[in-house]
Symmetry: C2
Subunit: 119 residues, 2 copies
Amino acid sequence: MRIIVLQYLMEQIKAVSLRSTEDAMEMSDKSTIYRTLKTFEKNKLVHTIDDGTKQLKYALCLESCKCEAIDLHYHFHCSSCQSTYCLTNHNIPKIDLPKNFQMHQANMVIKGLCAECHK
Amino acid sequence: MRIIVLQYLMEQIKAVSLRSTEDAMEMSDKSTIYRTLKTFEKNKLVHTIDDGTKQLKYALCLESCKCEAIDLHYHFHCSSCQSTYCLTNHNIPKIDLPKNFQMHQANMVIKGLCAECHK
DNA sequence: AATATTTCTGCAACTCAGTTGCAAAGTTTA
DNA sequence: TAAACTTTGCAACTGAGTTGCAGAAATATT
Ligand SMILES: [Mn+2]
Ligand SMILES: [Mn+2]
Ligand SMILES: [Zn+2]
Ligand SMILES: [Zn+2]
């Protein structure tokens, strides 16, 4: 199962939801795929993106990724087609926080229209 | 009801959930408060923050806010105490997007430990 | 003031993504 | 082979959010 799900993830250019992964492999149960994705997440093969739809999205990490602050990047969610993309070109800049606040992670989602939908 | 909810919002320094608002005013029904918050959102009195907990957070907009791209700011969510703060000091920088992508909104959440929890 | 119209509220029911317990199936190890 | 461990499918559950509806309350009209 893990191999199949991993293969599916590798084929995608967009982040996927549990639901869409489930639909892509009809033979298998939701909870199995759920647990597979969670295993991937725990082992830092994928990161998750909360894009404001109620469905959490999963995307493969880059080779170099350790899922630490330094690996963080923005994401783009198209309000029209609901696609969610990793914007891995640039990492997020250093943000100055209130005194004694400490950053570990981030969920950065830009919303708007993707190239397809913006015509 | 709207006045009571608005007052509650003004007292807070953290973003609030539907749930916590509900708890703060025992006399009133969940759906009423829900609709009140949604009305505020539609009329740009509050903005919402999806901080990765399953509960959407609401926070009062600044006076000047038109809920447009220019008004966007980062948010901070403490992984320990679950508090969510608006970081209104700085607006988010211009982010360069793939060709023909257009930004309208954003949900930017930094996660880590707040001053209280970081000892 | 009395009536009609509109808005607000509380309740209950529903949706839907995510999550979990459990037992059966499959795999690895001794 | 038998024991130990891991993975899977199923069904049931959770909890935030959402909605229809009818009665209450407020506002407008006569
Ligand atoms: Mn990503
Ligand atoms: Mn804010
Ligand atoms: Zn699109
Ligand atoms: Zn904290």
